[in-house]
Symmetry: C2
Subunit: 247 residues, 2 copies
């Protein structure tokens, strides 16, 4: 079976973009022009271009034209073994090093552990936990969403019970846990990717349908998991960098 026409047109244009004959910023033929060249109806050309837009290869500007997307300079988000060496939060250390201004907003509330989170933390479903939602901002632009859970059987009644209140606020998890004698020794990060949900796209000022990477992070002491988080990062603006010692 032959590919449908709109696929064939999209394939032609995609190939031209990938091999550089349509460089970033170049303007695609208008859909009238495409329809004429391929001898198809206007609508078919629309479908072809819409497909490329959904794939992120081009960006349509109403009234102006459709252009090959500039791949915006990705910032690097280091997640290496050495990032937590100094005090403060890893995110702040990151942006400071790059000469940018990292801030965040958050809110915490008590929750009952859901099955997925309970399993990661090795606690029972329904156990009490502290759930904190963060939005990280880089020069006022939202760049990362994070939802974290800590088991209250560890932190209840301690000065670090609320991650962002009291004398130990705004430090990283590693430092905060150290205050109550929990020495975090390792973190396991599971990285995958998917398209952004509508709510996430809005919060991150990202394209709806844009790709996000998700990190499922679990901090461990020698004895047990003590914190877990779901982290959402738009691929448009950030790449993850892992530096790993060998042997």
């Amino acid at each position: 079976m032959p590919s449908p026409t709109y696929q064939r047109i999209a394939d032609d244009l995609r190939a031209a973009i990938v091999d550089g004959s349509l460089p970033p910023g170049a303007k695609l033929p208008s859909r009238h022009e495409l329809a004429r060249q391929y001898e198809v109806s206007d609508r078919v050309a629309v479908e072809a271009v819409r497909l490329l837009a959904a794939e992120g290869f081009v960006e349509a500007r109403s009234g102006s034209g459709t252009y090959v997307r500039q791949r915006p300079q990705q910032q690097r988000l280091a997640r290496s073994w050495y990032t937590d060496r100094r005090g403060g939060s890893p995110f702040r250390a990151e942006t400071d090093a790059a000469g940018r201004t990292g801030t965040w907003e958050c809110s915490s509330k008590r929750v009952a552990m859901t099955p997925a989170v309970a399993e990661r933390l090795g606690v029972a479903v329904g156990d009490p936990g502290m759930c904190t939602r963060y939005t990280f901002l880089d020069d006022s632009e939202p760049v990362t969403l994070s939802t974290s859970w800590e088991p209250l059987d560890l932190t209840e009644g301690t000065p670090i019970m609320f991650p962002e209140e009291g004398p130990h606020a705004a430090r990283g998890v590693v430092d905060r846990m150290a205050v109550i004698g929990q020495q975090i020794t390792r973190t396991v990060e599971t990285v995958t990717a998917r398209t952004a949900l509508a709510a996430e796209a809005e919060q991150l000022h990202a394209r709806p349908g844009g790709i996000v990477m998700t990190i499922t992070r679990v901090y461990h002491t020698a004895d047990r998991p003590v914190e877990t988080a779901d982290i959402v990062i738009p691929v448009e603006r950030y790449a993850l960098v892992y530096e790993v010692p060998v042997r």
Copy 2:
């Protein structure tokens, strides 16, 4: 400005899928049904469903219906500090541990270093290099593509010049470089994600437009970078797991 209707319909369905009211395998209303429910034309319902299909939430079967996709069990691809402790290739160690059968195909050729690769390896553009393309198979299913470059000023004339020939074939890069006295001490992996190119989708037996993670890997000795690779992994089947010591 209000969202277009087809977006609103897609948002409703997407939310229902994410919160579980439309579980994996569930059948979506047909486009006639959707058009009736939302009091829109047939075409608008088609666009809404097409959007969800492009995002990978649903799968349409012609003549039957449109169904919420089963998320196939993601395999985990460990990229931790300890993976290279034993001999052989990391990929083989991985599949062996999971009780599966890892094999691969590859071909090597001499190339002149391109600017992007030359920069990673700290050599001059146009310097001679050995470029090897791998397709990794897991129980005969292609799961990872990798293109690797090694500078020939290091390996020319040595027994490891061709990665997959001679007495040291089919070992990992770390072991092979050790043969010529290059002790690899660390690797830097930059992780990002994008939609698959048509050729990649075909090679990986993946959905065209499906999401792949890409890893740009550089192996370093204490002195210099000695190998770099571009690795492409379909998100459908694999998640990356980084285990990172803290402090």
